[in-house]
């Protein structure tokens, strides 16, 4: 082994720094899933009848479904009966009204993660709805948002305060029967975020949620619903990190976005859940269904994601471009190191006339990882003048990793114009040599090249996220040089 190889393999072996567990008493439902558990979850959350029935319908359908096997990932089968489907911090009754009242242990967790909640919120003007395990415990800037008429709260709160919106929009983008994991989520979802932006309102600040999986053995089933009414605008940030655990944890979230006429939703994610150790033991299973519906004319939905964590990622943020002139965007950086497996991409379904979509995907594989882009661009006969541009590039670092591209193009309209490009390569020796002879270390060179490789996506992220994402990429990738 060459010396620099060793140096870099040491760096690659760097332990996950965010691995720790906060001790908070958990209220757990015993592991297992049946109709009673679904009813119990619904009851505990004091949900109206329509929602209980909605969950049960999803559960019954889930029973008839098979776990999908088409993704380019391998994992030991999940025993859905060994998962506990509900965990909530116990002191729920006296839930804090402000940050000062928040359980200090919780705040400490955020501090360890380098997310000083109150500071970040004040300095960056970001309202944070922190989801700790499954129930929201802290929501800030509510008043300011309230003035603008924006509803930003936990999902369970929204069920109580805005049941009519929930009933109207829940499952309208991702139906209960959509896929195996979406059906499971629909049956047992615990909590999540709800956003409603009224007509003509530009949300005064960026909305942000930090997810954190804490209790061992509790699959987390988030449900996020964002509705942007006519002419409104919202930017939503989602970031994740999780403590180190040896057991695989399942995360099957569903995110639904609805953009009505002239509305715009920008949804950004930095996902850094525990990826497992360098031997591929442990790590989060991240099986997420994310979909946006551009329901009105001239609406726009933009997905930006930086995926560096999770043992397995199965995630395809998609856009249904129904409204005329609507726009869908997908910008993604997916990094897989060690034994991580990522199968991610997007679907753009063009239904309305003059709809446009852009897909930029950057995949980086290092170590023994497998990284796949899987996408679909479908042009329906009604989508006159539709336009799609897709570019997916893969970077390979090391000769034991894999990078795959599985795009599909289906066009049924002659006026549509579709372009797809994909390239796969490694960091060339020329590039490395050039930087090295100018005195840069190999590690810095790789970071620089990778950051340059991902620049198209990073510049789509909100500023503070972009900084975080860049740092995250450097940490996740350091030294993996071929």
């Amino acid at each position: 082994m060459r010396t620099e190889d060793k140096e870099f393999s040491d760096l690659v072996k760097q332990k996950y720094q965010h691995g720790f567990v906060t001790d908070i008493e958990q209220e757990l439902v015993p592991p297992g899933l049946d109709e009673d558990v679904v009813r119990l979850i619904s009851k505990k959350k004091g949900e109206p009848l329509f929602l209980t029935n909605w969950r049960l319908k999803a559960y019954r359908h889930w029973l008839t479904m098979d776990e999908p096997t088409w993704a380019h990932v391998k994992y030991t089968p999940i025993d859905y009966q060994s998962i506990s489907y509900f965990a909530a911090p116990k002191n729920l009754d006296d839930a804090p009204k402000s940050l000062d009242e928040v359980d200090p242990a919780l705040l400490e967790t955020y501090d360890k993660l380098g997310i000083p909640l109150h500071e970040r919120a004040r300095l960056a003007g970001v309202a944070v709805d922190a989801v700790f395990d499954s129930v929201s415990v802290a929501t800030t800037f509510k008043e300011k948002l309230g003035e603008a008429g924006v509803v930003f709260c936990s999902f369970s709160e929204a069920v109580k305060t805005h049941p009519e919106l929930i009933e109207k929009y829940l499952g309208s983008v991702v139906p209960q029967r959509d896929n195996f994991f979406a059906a499971l989520n629909s049956a047992v979802f615990s909590d999540g975020s709800f956003v409603y932006i009224p007509k003509g309102v530009r949300c005064p600040m960026e909305l942000s949620t930090y997810f954190r999986i804490n209790a061992a053995n509790t699959g987390q089933f988030e449900r996020t619903l964002i509705i942007a009414d006519e002419g409104s605008h919202v930017s939503y940030l989602e970031g994740c990190t999780a403590p180190m655990r040896d057991e695989n944890q399942l995360h099957a979230a569903v995110v639904e976005l609805v953009a009505l006429e002239d509305a715009e939703i920008k949804y950004s994610t930095v996902q850094n859940w525990y990826p497992g150790d360098e031997n591929g033991v442990g790590g989060i299973y991240n099986f997420v269904t994310k979909r946006g519906d551009c329901r009105g004319a001239n609406s726009k939905i933009s997905w930006t994601q930086v995926e560096t964590g999770s043992a397995i990622t199965w995630k395809y943020p998609s856009c249904i471009l129904r409204g005329e002139n609507s726009i869908g965007e997908f910008y993604s950086v997916a990094l897989a190191n060690n034994y991580q497996q990522a199968d991610t991409g997007t679907k753009m379904v063009h239904i309305g006339a003059n709809t446009r979509s852009t897909i930029i995907s950057k995949g980086i594989s290092a170590g023994n990882a497998e990284n796949s882009y899987r996408g679909l661009v479908r042009i329906m006969p009604t989508a006159h003048g539709a336009r799609n541009y897709t570019q997916c590039d893969s970077l390979l670092i090391g000769d034991q990793c894999g990078a795959h591209t599985f795009p599909a193009v289906e066009s049924r309209n002659r006026n549509a114009q579709i372009e797809h490009e994909a390239t796969t390569s490694k960091i060339s020796d020329d590039q490395l040599f050039y930087c090295r002879q100018r005195g840069l270390s190999e590690e810095d060179t790789v970071n620089m090249i990778v950051n340059g490789f991902c620049r198209d996506v990073f510049k789509k992220l909100p500023m503070e996220f972009a900084v975080e994402a860049q740092a995250l990429l450097n940490v996740s990738l350091e030294g993996a040089v071929g």
Binding site: I379, P407, E421, A422
Partner: protein, 436 residues
């Protein structure tokens, strides 16, 4: 379901004394495999866009029929219209059987044609359980193929004259024919083959062809496959090839006819330095469905592949392309380029394209590109501004789009025939003067 019981027909076809033990056991294996898999359905990822229902329900009879003199006579008329003149080395197959009308001398300069009866190692490694499982139609072909033709070329022989294989589907009732060709090219040898599928049969028929190729070290094979059926015919085929050290394969696919066409190509660049190129062009007009599925495996270092398909989709036509490139762990220095470009000229046409890359090593250069659209308006405007009327301009641009691929066909007769056939489908081509 079908009134033709495939198993019964199969049993009857095996009930002949002149079938060798080796081919008997292979055909049995193939039939068992097909019985397990059945016809591929759209639930299978590789068959998502192509429905074989018209073939399954077409009740095509696969039982062997001897060639009668009428067919021979009719075939000679068909051959008159064929691409290459009578001086070419020629093999004619009528409904899968070798015709006496063939003008080929059986032994020529190291090239030999025979009926494969015994096992032949370099070919037999290409077929077997795995192939039958992955390609059920190839299993069906093997089970029912009456004559597996073996073409071998000895070491160090270059044959410049193209070998012309003509497959004619003729007959009055709906027939399924299963032509099977095996090709073994010796070390440092060169051969050009033109495989020509035609039919003068106005009735629907189904041709299900299999071509197996083994290329030894440093050999070069150019194979141009030209399909121009009437629009009632069905065509499915598999070409499977294994390339040795520094061997090179150049494939050309021209699909102009057929109602439902599915071409599978599976190339294994098995040894260092092997290279292949596939250039394809197809017309899918008047309700035609043309599907090209390719799989190229880079199994050894410094292997290269280049692939480009162009489709013209007209009224109610549908084009399907799936190109998969797999670069295996040992294939350092692999280079794979793939492109699929499609012209969608009709309101009711559809194109489905899936270019896939599966890469397991880092020292590679791979890319693929797909485009779908109508004619470039600026180009159209340019031509119109030069006084060319719009219809002619459209025709010219469409032809130019296909011509990029046709230019790569190295047998002039094939290139010319393809060019004039494509132009013939375009409006106003008679006004192009000496352009072709």
């Amino acid at each position: 379901m079908s009134t033709i019981n495939l198993q019964e027909v199969f049993d009857a076809s095996l009930d002949q004394p002149d079938i060798s033990a080796a081919s008997r056991s292979l055909r049995n294996e193939a039939m068992v495999s097909f019985n397990e898999t059945g016809f591929p359905s759209r639930k299978h990822e590789n068959w998502r866009y192509t429905d074989l229902k018209p073939i399954v329900s077409g009740e095509f009879d696969p039982s062997p029929q001897p060639i009668n003199s009428q067919q021979e006579k009719k075939a000679s008329q068909d051959i008159e219209k064929s691409i290459l003149d009578s001086k070419a080395l020629r093999l004619v197959f009528i409904n899968g059987q070798l015709s006496t009308n063939n003008t080929f001398p059986n032994e020529l300069n190291g090239l030999s044609i025979s009926k494969k009866t015994e096992s032949y190692k370099s070919i037999d490694v290409l077929q077997g359980k795995e192939l039958f499982k992955d390609y059920p139609l190839a299993a069906l072909n093997t089970a029912f193929s009456q004559r597996e033709t073996l073409i071998t070329l000895d070491e160090g022989i270059q044959i410049t004259k193209p070998l012309h294989l003509i497959h004619i589907n003729s007959g009055t009732e709906p027939r399924a024919i299963h032509p099977k060709i095996a090709i073994d090219i010796g070390t440092e040898s060169e051969l050009t083959i033109v495989q020509h599928f035609i039919s003068s049969n106005p009735e629907p028929g189904w041709t299900n062809s299999v071509t197996l190729i083994n290329q030894n070290k440093g050999s070069l094979l150019k194979l141009y496959r030209f399909q121009e059926y009437p629009h009632e015919q069905f065509h499915t085929e598999l070409l499977k090839s294994r390339l040795g050290n520094n061997a090179e394969l150049k494939l050309g696919y021209v699909d102009l006819g057929g109602k439902l066409v599915r071409n599978d190509v599976h190339i294994d660049l098995a040894e260092p330095g092997a290279a292949c190129s596939i250039d394809g062009v197809f017309l899918a007009i008047n309700g035609q469905h043309i599907d090209n599925h390719t799989l190229i495996e880079h199994s050894a270092p410094r292997t290269t592949s280049q692939e480009s398909f162009r489709g013209i989709i007209g009224e109610h036509g549908r084009g399907v392309f799936k190109g998969k490139v797999v670069v295996h762990r040992d294939a350092q220095g692999a280079d794979a380029q793939q492109s699929s470009d499609n012209l969608l000229l009709s309101e009711h046409g559809e194109i489905d394209a899936k270019p896939e890359l599966e890469i397991y090593t880092d020292d590679v250069k791979c890319s693929h590109g797909t485009t779908v659209g109508e004619l470039n308006l600026e180009q159209l405007f340019y031509l119109c501004s030069r006084g060319i009327d719009e219809t002619t301009a459209k025709g010219l641009l469409t032809f130019a789009f296909a011509n990029t691929i046709l230019q790569r066909i190295e047998v002039p007769e094939v290139r010319k025939r393809a060019a004039s056939s494509i132009a013939g489908e375009l409006p106003d081509h008679q006004n192009w003067g000496g352009l072709l």
